[in-house]
């Protein structure tokens, strides 16, 4: 961008210079003056001027107050807010009085009370009294819009933030305003729940207590809570969040806008799955398999003795299966203990990872500004990294072409093009890096399946240099984390291992096949760092004290017994890793909104593993994906059950036409003797020749499938 043009205007007698195109609300803020707003939210697209809270006297213009939020700063404009203009003050008073005509003012029972813009602005600007003596309009309340969101129509001030989000940001169009005038209501279609991956954002957007979270309902007041800034660990995006805690429990998750990562949006998985901390089957004590009696809870002292014995008896024939949800510090600590202390270098990673994309590193927000976005790999982006889907949608709304099949001409022709790889055959980003290099692009993303797969892999490789052959047979399999414990491949390995040690949060996952279970902790309970899909190192903070010692604490104890020096403090462990992998940045400097490291110079030669996925001749290629609302944590949060995938198969429109399948029709998908029957859903975001089914319903299907009605 060239040097930005500026305009000069006067607000309440203060002259300010702002870049051209700045909204009046922001311009006033630059002058240190607040123009109060309810409906204005630039992230939701153009202002709608619904609430009239921002009325100001503005010259040049009509002689009546105007909604400042709908205007941009112009040269020579003279703006008078309620501070200096009696007309504007009058108009604002009237607006508030009107808004409150039907507002129930049940603040004491309302969850928004204490953090409610309507309360605050009424207190500061309102007339303080009402002249309306007639009864208020009432509705039945609360109405469950979904198992996660409660709607109180009486409190709604019709700012349309929620519907604008649903229509214009998440593009699910499920939350709408019905009826007219004073009878206008926010509603979903019929009695259908608001079932969409981003529904929770409307709770944060609503400026009053009309849309509230059912999981936070009556849990705490703003003066009773502590917001801990941390990072979501449920997917590779790593949205910045605040965890609201009260009395040592996480009560809700709020977004903490990182404009380059999440733009202040969260998906429902990140927002609501914190309840897994209190899962019924949480492991709180080490569990040991004992002869005859089955399993027994043992003390930590005994558990560490047992762990030591298992490690020694395995004689180096140890394989470690990692989850990709460990912090960098944990993975490094585990690596250091096992590799330096025991020479056990073999690890089983949840997925491939590669540093090839470091040369094409750009922030996620770059997607928004691209002209062409090519989404490759065939797996649904929203199921792996939901916020990336929002960036892609925003790009599309801004006029970008979004391709789902690589059109090299379009990509080369674009001023800025971004590649996003999501799906099998990505080789940890190498595939898309090769493409980006060939096409001369500066930005490309690979969407991994695990939240910190890259970080875990880097940390493991930092912990020692030596290599060793995979042991056969496996003396001891160490399963680190719940995702690994739930992974069928890891289970298969366990069958072959003589002994199994599982680190897991949940009894349901660990008991039965492990010789020793050590309790695990969640991302909300750890201090440490994660690397997100951009390559950004972000800081996790301990939001609540876990019921068990965290991994680092006991790994360092265990390390002592093998003469490996290991600190129990994440800051010190990170220092060691950082010196090797992150150029020595100290722990404290990662900060609350961490910056993206600069892209590295293009690597000379990127190595690609074996060729992409199995070739499929004729028929269709089945892409199975792990749905967003799945995994050990989500499965333990029953409020999220309604978000689980539907029995559907996604088809491209072309394929559907040639097969004669209509949207919503039942189809049979067949391969190698097995078949499943699912509802067809036509998708514009799928290239021909591919059919997409979530893991929950794909059963035993092989990659090559046929479809019949």
């Amino acid at each position: 961008m060239s040097a930005t043009e500026t305009v000069t205007l006067t607000i309440d007698g203060v002259a300010v210079e702002v870049p051209k195109g700045t909204g009046l609300v922001e311009a006033a803020l630059a002058a240190g003056i607040e123009i109060p707003v309810f409906c204005y939210e630039p992230r939701l697209g153009p202002a709608v001027g619904a609430c009239r809270m921002c009325l100001c006297q503005i010259e040049p213009g009509p002689p009546k107050p105007q909604a400042a939020c709908t205007l941009t700063a112009q040269d020579g404009m003279v703006v008078r807010t309620a501070l200096t203009s009696a007309v504007a003050a009058d108009a604002q008073n009237a607006t508030l009085e009107f808004i409150l005509v039907n507002h129930p003012l049940d603040c004491p029972v309302c969850d928004k009370g204490g953090e409610c813009p309507l309360q605050d602005l009424t207190f500061r600007y309102g007339p303080g009294n009402t002249r309306m003596t007639f009864p208020k309009r009432t509705f039945e309340k609360p109405i469950p819009v979904s198992p996660l969101i409660a709607l109180d129509r009486e409190r709604c001030i019709l700012c349309y933030r929620c519907t604008r989000f649903s229509e214009g940001v998440a593009e699910d169009g499920q939350l709408v305003a019905v009826d007219r005038g004073a009878g206008t209501m926010i509603a979903t279609f019929g009695d259908e729940p608001y079932r969409a991956p981003f529904s929770g954002n409307v709770i944060e957007l609503c400026p009053v207590g009309a849309l509230t979270s059912t999981t936070y309902r009556f849990e705490a007041r703003p003066w009773e809570i502590l917001d801990v800034p941390t990072v979501c660990g449920m997917c590779p995006v790593g949205c910045n969040v605040n965890a609201t805690t009260r009395e040592g429990n996480v009560k809700r998750i709020l977004s903490r806008n990182h404009p380059e990562v999440d733009d202040g949006w969260l998906c429902d998985k990140g927002r609501f799955s914190y309840a897994h901390l209190h899962a019924e089957d949480r492991v709180c004590d080490p569990i040991l398999r004992v002869r005859r009696r089955g399993f027994e809870e043992v003390s930590w002292e005994r558990a560490l003795d047992e762990a030591e014995r298992l490690l020694r008896e395995a004689n180096g024939r140890i394989v470690t299966a990692l989850s990709g949800s460990e912090t960098i510090e944990e993975a490094y600590a585990l690596g250091k203990l096992l590799r330096r202390g025991l020479g056990a270098h073999t690890a089983f990673f949840p997925e491939e990872s590669s540093d090839a994309l470091d040369a094409f590193r750009v922030p996620l927000s770059a997607i928004r500004d691209a002209d062409v976005v090519a989404v490759l790999g065939d797996a649904p982006v929203v199921e792996r990294a939901p916020i990336v889907e929002l960036w892609i949608k925003e790009a599309r709304r801004r006029g970008a072409r979004v391709l789902y099949e690589l059109d090299e001409e379009a990509v080369r022709g674009a001023e800025t093009a971004i590649l996003v790889w999501c799906g099998p055959g990505g080789h940890g980003g190498a595939t898309v890096a090769v493409l980006a290099q060939r096409l001369g692009l500066s930005g490309a993303f690979y969407i991994p399946e695990t939240a910190n797969g890259r970080g875990v892999c880097d940390a493991w490789s930092c912990s020692d240099d030596a290599e060793s052959a995979s042991p056969d047979p496996i003396g001891l399999l160490i399963v680190s984390g719940d995702e690994a414990a739930a992974n069928p491949d890891v289970r298969a390995l366990a069958e072959k291992a003589e002994r199994v040690l599982v680190i897991s949060m949940f009894q349901g996952l660990a008991a039965g096949w492990a010789d020793l279970v050590l309790p695990g902790t969640s991302y909300l309970e750890r201090d440490g760092t994660y690397i997100n899909l951009e390559g950004r190192v972000q800081r996790l903070r301990r939001t609540v004290i876990p019921p068990v010692p965290d991994e680092l604490a006991w790994i360092s104890k265990l390390a002592e017994r093998f003469d490996v020096e290991l600190s129990p403090y994440p800051a010190l462990v990170f220092e060691e890793v950082s010196a090797i992998a992150f150029g020595g940045i100290p722990f404290g400097e990662i900060g609350e909104r961490s910056p993206l490291p600069a892209a590295t110079g293009a690597s000379a030669q990127i190595e690609l593993g074996e060729a992409d996925g199995p070739a499929v001749d004729g028929g269709l290629r089945l892409v199975r994906y792990r749905p967003l609302f799945s995994g050990p944590a989500v499965e333990r949060v029953h409020e999220l059950d309604f978000q689980r995938p539907q029995p559907e198969a996604e088809l491209s429109e072309e394929d559907a036409r040639s097969l004669g399948v209509r949207n919503g029709e039942e189809i049979t998908i067949r391969s190698n003797g097995t078949s499943v029957r699912l509802r067809a859903r036509l998708s514009r975001e799928l290239r021909p020749g591919v059919v997409r089914v979530s893991d929950d319903f794909a059963g035993e299907l092989k990659p090559a499938v046929e479809i019949s009605k």
């Binding site: 004491p108 029972v109 009556f218 009773e224």
Partner: protein, 165 residues
């Protein structure tokens, strides 16, 4: 300052005069001095006439409390478990009396007149734990720990709390 013998004598004269006055010591607890009607003593939680609790668990009292000694944990009323009118009630309501400074801000803050400060001041305990008053204790009649003195012995009007508890 130089010694001032005369002033000392004046001082002792005051003391001397008191020796011949009737003592004003009151025997406590046999005699209890009544308190002013707006005396701020031990808290009470109140109920509506239909038996439902007035408190809705809004925590406004906790917000107002300068000693931070009120703990409110709210919950939703259900048809099977209706504790207060409306949607919300206080599942836990605790006041830590060892920290309370009896300022009465909680009473002022309460939008439903659910909490008031009564006139009882005899609330000593042998253990700090016993000074954490729970909702049940605050809703119930205060237990009179010290035997109530003989009404006839009061030298001033009957204390407020005797007629209004």
């Amino acid at each position: 300052m130089s010694p001032q013998p005369l002033d000392s004598v004046k001082g002792f004269a005051v003391t001397f005069r008191q020796l011949f006055k009737k003592p004003i010591t009151q025997q406590y607890p046999e005699y209890k001095r009544p308190v002013y009607p707006r005396f701020r003593g031990r808290h009470r939680l109140h109920r509506h006439e239909n038996g439902l609790e007035k408190c809705v668990g809004c925590s406004l009292c906790a917000a107002a409390c300068p000693a931070d000694c009120i703990r409110v944990v709210a919950e939703e009323n259900t048809p099977d478990n209706r504790v207060s009118p409306g949607e919300r009630y206080a599942r836990i309501y605790e006041i830590n009396m060892s920290r309370c400074i009896f300022c009465g801000y909680c009473e002022l803050a309460c939008p439903f007149d659910a909490i008031t400060l009564g006139n009882e001041y005899e609330i000593s305990e042998y253990s700090r734990d016993d000074l954490i008053y729970t909702k049940d204790m605050l809703l119930a009649e205060p237990i009179k720990k010290v035997p109530v003195a003989d009404r006839d012995l009061y030298d001033t009007p009957i204390p407020y709390y005797q007629d209004h508890s």
